[in-house]
């Protein structure tokens, strides 16, 4: 009889079931965790790479025959260790935490860059399930940097649309994601935009969305410590991304306009440029 104040806060230690190669360095790490099975697109888990770090990671798979997954791009010690784990090795999981994208019918543009495509895969699936029309922009530096491409290609079939964008044109359209978005917006009417990825990219997309008057939801990233609304390090404006976010809507993005795309707190609580 364990008594946790919030059951999802109980740390679970689970085995890596599979580590799927996404790019040369990035991996999608599969594991089994009851609580993550029912997470919603946009929610994240705190993943503990033992001995290195614990990090927020969007769930890229909620329930694939009982398995969940996160898609990890190595940056520092934590994500590096996570990407190097072999099946059978242990990770810690708590959560799922945070809010989720609100899925609505209509003509929908999803814009994902780098590992930011992670929550957009399950979101695409849900949107298609409820009858929305999906256009997913999947961006990366080169063809080798595109994450979750296999999943995207498998699930996004006409009339839905998958738009690949690379900086160098080694796959799909050549250019940056915002360029592709500008092009799409000029040709077609969209009812809503969802985005996750580098914040500067999302800011550019948001500015276009504002110009066109299209509602947008963006999943932001900030350093996180507690993930339960205590430490404050994940602040954007008056919002705590771990609880009020990670997904902010147009109204909120307008409120935090001075920070969105520009600044964050570092782990000492100093305001630093993004």
């Amino acid at each position: 009889m364990s008594v946790f104040l919030t059951p999802s806060d109980r740390l679970r230690i689970v085995r890596v079931e599979e580590s799927r190669v996404e790019t040369q360095t990035a991996r999608t790490v599969f594991f089994r965790d009851e609580a993550c099975l029912n997470a919603k697109p946009g929610q994240f888990a705190m993943i503990w790479a033992m001995g290195a770090d614990e990090m927020p990671m969007s769930l890229s798979v909620m329930n694939d025959e009982g398995r969940s997954a996160v898609t990890v791009k190595p940056w520092g010690p934590g994500s590096n260790l996570l990407c190097s784990l072999k099946p059978g090795e242990l990770i810690g999981v708590r959560g799922p935490y945070g809010n989720n994208f609100t899925s609505k019918k209509g003509s929908t543009l999803l814009v994902g860059g780098g590992s930011g495509v992670a929550p957009l895969i399950p979101l695409s699936q849900e949107l298609m399930r409820i009858g929305a029309k999906v256009t997913l922009v999947l961006a990366g530096k080169t063809s080798g940097d595109l994450m979750l491409l296999g999943d995207a290609e498998r699930i996004i079939k006409p009339p839905h649309r998958l738009v690949i964008v690379t900086d160098d044109g080694s796959a799909g359209v050549k250019g940056l994601a915002p360029d592709a978005v500008r092009d799409l917006l000029s040709k077609k009417a969209f009812d809503q935009i969802y985005s996750c990825g580098p914040e500067k990219m999302m800011r550019m997309v948001f500015d276009m969305a504002e110009e066109k008057g299209i509602p947008m939801e963006a999943s932001l990233e900030r350093p996180m410590e507690c993930a339960i609304g205590l430490c404050g390090i994940c602040v954007v404006g008056k919002y705590l991304l771990c609880r009020d976010g990670p997904v902010l809507d147009s109204k909120q993005l307008r409120e935090v306009s001075k920070e969105f795309g520009f600044t964050r707190l570092d782990r000492a609580g100093r305001v630093v440029p993004l």
Binding site: F4, L11, G92, G229, L230, C231, G232, V235, A268
Partner: protein
């Protein structure tokens, strides 16, 4: 005479005067909990907190520990954030942007009288209403309870801080000492204006599957409902012997927890972990609950129930 609106009535019932500060309600945001930017401090005030404490600020910027820094345990959480903070200068700059006259109390930590005396001049123009000295953090070397467990050291630090400011100074004490009353008395004797009791309890959890301590710092501080009986005891003991106000902190999340603290002798309560379990709405819920309790038990003002349990 025109009748006051019900809201005004209620707020006057709830308002308390602590060490010269008049607060609209006896509920505060505890130190170190979300209070890292002006926007988050203001949000707590807008949500009904009578005062808000900042993160504990030190002389120099400091990164906290690596994650995991927080882990859930039964009826509480362990944290070892590690006193990450931008340093007194950068933080004071941030605070200067604050508009309006807000009941913000700044939490300070340091390694001893010298460090505190270096900090005080840097704080002069900061628009805060008082200071709380964190002499009680249980998991950072050389500061917190490591200086706060020695009553002579506490007297020296409080003296230095009092010399450096005219604003009220609270001392936040730790239950990880042999005799918490002695520490409180030492602080009072050199002019502390109030005591905050308590900070977290030094604690640890080891995961049996991982076979290792979970927190990267191994040791952390236990907070939440688990520690409330310890906090209530400290508030009761301290308020039995000191004349300055005591602020109760530890495991307050429901209105009855707050009332328990007030009855124990606290003039106000602080909420930390309650923010994780109840969200920012915790302040409103506590204030309304206290107000309901006052009416149902025939009291006019919060102050009437402060320390009431001592009569038994």
């Amino acid at each position: 005479m025109a009748k006051a609106a019900p809201e005004a009535l209620s707020s006057s019932k709830l308002s308390v005067n602590i060490a010269g500060l008049t607060l609209s309600a006896p509920t505060m945001l505890a130190a170190g909990v979300v209070g890292i930017t002006p926007s988050l401090l203001r949000r707590a005030l807008d949500s009904g907190a009578g005062a808000v404490l900042t993160k504990s600020i030190g002389l120099n910027p400091r990164e906290g520990y690596r994650n995991p820094t927080v882990v859930g345990v039964e009826c509480g959480y362990l944290n070892a954030i590690g006193l990450g903070n931008p340093g007194v200068q950068a933080f004071s700059e941030q605070l200067k942007n604050i508009k309006g006259d807000l009941p913000i109390i700044m939490s300070l930590f340091g390694s001893g009288p010298e460090e505190f005396s270096q900090m005080m001049p840097l704080l002069e123009d900061t628009p805060v209403k008082g200071y709380e000295l964190n002499l009680s953090c249980p998991h950072v070397k050389g500061v917190g309870v490591e200086v706060g467990q020695d009553s002579e050291m506490v007297s020296k630090i409080v003296s230095v801080v009092k010399r450096g400011t005219k604003k009220p100074v609270f001392v936040k004490v730790s239950p990880n000492v042999g005799n918490v009353v002695e520490i409180a008395r030492a602080a009072e004797s050199v002019g502390a204006d109030g005591i905050t009791a308590i900070n977290t309890l030094r604690a640890m959890t080891i995961d049996v599957e991982a076979k290792r301590p979970v927190l990267s710092n191994k040791f952390g501080g236990l907070s939440g409902p688990a520690i409330r009986p310890v906090a209530v005891r400290c508030v009761y003991e301290i308020s039995s012997v000191v004349r300055i106000p005591v602020v109760g902190c530890g495991g307050v999340s429901k209105w009855s927890d707050a009332v328990e603290m007030l009855l124990a002798g606290a003039s106000a309560v602080q909420v930390g972990t309650g923010l994780a379990t109840q969200g920012y709405g915790v302040f409103k819920a506590l204030n309304e609950g206290i107000l309901r309790y006052l009416s149902e038990h025939g009291f006019e003002r919060v102050e009437q129930i402060v320390g009431l349990s001592h009569s038994f």
